[in-house]
């Protein structure tokens, strides 16, 4: 589903990604771990082209991200094409980024109506179904400011799901939550994984990585240090850097 080969990303002179190579299979749940500043968020943002990569190859579902290959040359995609590709990839942010001027339902229906041109009634019906699925059937008409953090993040997940994405990216979805609210969000994500969604999850929740993830990738300073099955990487890390990191977060 996601195929990265030697992905490099620079911000000015700062090289943040120094050749990331990894694969995510359809239906796979991959957890990305790593210390702060290691480039996890940047890599996720590259996957849906919120950031442009400087070199390497990055493709989603067999198609290059942001470019089209014609012969030996790469052509940049037009904005509308990039937008259409993005609409197939859901993204959930650390601080929710719900639209504060819209109710929960409007947050969920907005993109399907504007991007997919879905009729209002269909979008509303689908939104109720999704809000129900994340356990927020009663909060349809509530504004984000009146929801708890956990509820906001679940609305954000429903909002991303409303576009029927084939891939979901989660950037530390529970890091901004009070400890007692973490469970409700992880529960929704676990259910999503069971339903067969392909997911890339940046998280510090080792329990989630261990139980839900199919693979774990440990990143540090812009490179993949170690990857493999959760049990292997988390219990018997081969690399010293992984061991040092795990001893701090566990």
């Amino acid at each position: 589903m996601v195929n990265a080969e030697g992905v490099h990303k620079r911000f000015g002179r700062l090289e943040v990604l120094k050749g990331i190579t990894l694969q995510v299979m359809p239906g796979e749940v991959m957890c990305l771990l790593g210390p702060s500043g290691s480039g996890k968020s940047t890599f996720l943002r590259c996957i849906n082209h919120l950031e442009k990569i400087n070199s390497g190859r990055l493709s989603v579902d067999g198609e290059l991200v942001g470019y089209r290959q014609m012969g030996a040359k790469l052509h940049e995609l037009r904005e509308a094409e990039v937008a259409r590709k993005r609409s197939e990839i859901g993204m959930v942010f650390q601080n929710f980024n719900l639209f504060p001027h819209m109710t929960a339902e409007q947050n969920v229906t907005c993109a399907p109506m504007r991007v997919k041109k879905l009729p209002r009634d269909d979008a509303a019906a689908r939104s109720r179904e999704l809000l129900d699925r994340v356990g927020l059937a009663g909060k349809v008409d509530t504004y984000p400011s009146q929801l708890s953090g956990g509820q906001q993040q679940r609305v954000a997940i429903a909002r991303a799901l409303a576009m029927d994405p084939k891939l979901m990216l989660f950037d530390e979805p529970t890091s901004a939550l009070d400890p007692e609210l973490v469970g409700e969000v992880l529960g929704v994500m676990q259910q999503l994984a069971r339903d067969g969604m392909t997911m890339v999850v940046v998280t510090h929740e080792m329990g989630f990585a261990r139980e839900v993830a199919d693979s774990v990738v440990f990143m540090d300073a812009g490179v993949v240090v170690e990857s493999g099955r959760p049990a292997d990487v988390l219990n018997n890390p081969r690399e010293e850097r992984t061991r040092a990191f795990l001893s701090k977060v566990l």
């Binding site: 259409r84 993005r86 609409s87 639209f99 001027h101 907005c110 504007r114 400011s145 009146q146």
Partner: protein
């Protein structure tokens, strides 16, 4: 608001009832203000030079009302131009293309840097600069070229001068509003597949409105009064109308009062309009549950009487 928290529920520990600190200074200050106010009102009412009967006579004079209509029309059109132009310039200013943002910067620099009165006079005298204004291919042949003097009437000169100048100010206000919206909002919108334009229109601007509207209200009120400048280029606005009348009957002061009353009536109407707009765009924010204007004013007055910290009755409230 602190004063709302004073509840007397049964079964709760009794609220503290302390003798408030005496504030003799406040009473003295209030007395001084009161005396001054009474003196002013008395002199205004009794001074025969105000000629209140003349004021009443001209209040609804046809020429005055016609001038008022022109003033309102100028305000509405110039603000409309200013807002649209401001939005365009703000978006241009934030463009990654340096030529586009530079053009916007230059415009703002020029129109903010020169007095609006000078700009009005320029437009009024544009015929001296460009006797013929052509419509056609740039640097190529023109298809129509009407006379500048017939195209730029005093009224169009006024509209151009006020509107183009306002655009520069509205651009800065709008830009401040746009950059006040957290970047994560645009990230979220774009990750859902919205284009830059959709993101701006559906997500960023509606939120920017909360920041844009209060200063825009100020601008509108200010514009209403700035329109009085157009009397120098012979546009028959409210001020021009009363000047015309008092130049023949010499009732200068009463007629200026007539104009002032109309200006203050209009600005008061704008205040109320602004309040409701702010409430609309404040939806979803935590300070939204406020009663209607009257209720809030009353609440403000009450909390002052109780001697509490008369905190401002709500966010986004103007003086």
């Amino acid at each position: 608001m602190p004063s709302d928290e004073v509840t007397h529920a049964e079964g709760r520990p009794e609220d503290i009832r302390a003798v408030p600190v005496r504030r003799p200074g406040r009473w003295v200050a209030a007395a001084v203000v009161l005396v001054i106010a009474v003196a002013i009102v008395r002199s205004v009412v009794t001074n025969p030079h105000f000629e209140w009967s003349v004021v009443g006579h001209y209040m609804f004079d046809e020429r005055v009302l016609e001038g008022l209509r022109v003033t309102i029309e100028l305000t509405v059109i110039a603000m409309a131009i200013g807002i649209v132009l401001g939005l365009l310039l703000a978006v241009m200013r934030l463009s990654p293309n340096p030529l586009v943002s530079g053009g916007s910067w230059l415009y703002i620099w020029f129109f903010r840097g020169t007095p609006v009165l000078v700009q009005l006079l320029f437009w009024y005298n544009i015929a001296a600069l460009y006797p013929k204004i052509g419509l056609g291919i740039p640097f190529g042949p023109a298809f129509v070229h009407p006379n500048a003097n017939t195209l730029i009437t005093p009224f169009t000169a006024a509209i151009l001068g006020l509107g183009l100048n306002e655009g520069a100010y509205m651009a800065e206000i709008t830009r401040a509003g746009i950059i006040s919206v957290p970047e994560g909002q645009a990230d979220a919108a774009r990750s859902l597949g919205m284009t830059r334009l959709q993101t701006m229109r559906r997500i960023v601007l509606p939120q920017a409105m909360r920041v844009i509207i209060p200063p825009t209200g100020n601008e509108t009120i200010s514009m209403l009064k700035t329109t009085s400048l157009v009397s120098v280029i012979a546009v028959a606005d409210l001020l021009y109308a009363v000047q015309n009348i008092y130049s023949t009957n010499f009732k200068t002061i009463p007629l200026l009062i007539v104009a002032s009353i109309w200006y203050i009536v209009c600005t008061s109407v704008l205040y109320v309009g602004q309040y409701y707009l702010e409430r609309y765009y404040g939806r979803g924010s935590s300070t939204e549950r406020q009663g209607p204007l009257v209720e809030r004013v009353l609440r403000g007055v009450l909390s002052f009487r109780r001697g509490g910290e008369h905190s401002r009755p709500g966010a986004g409230e103007h003086r």
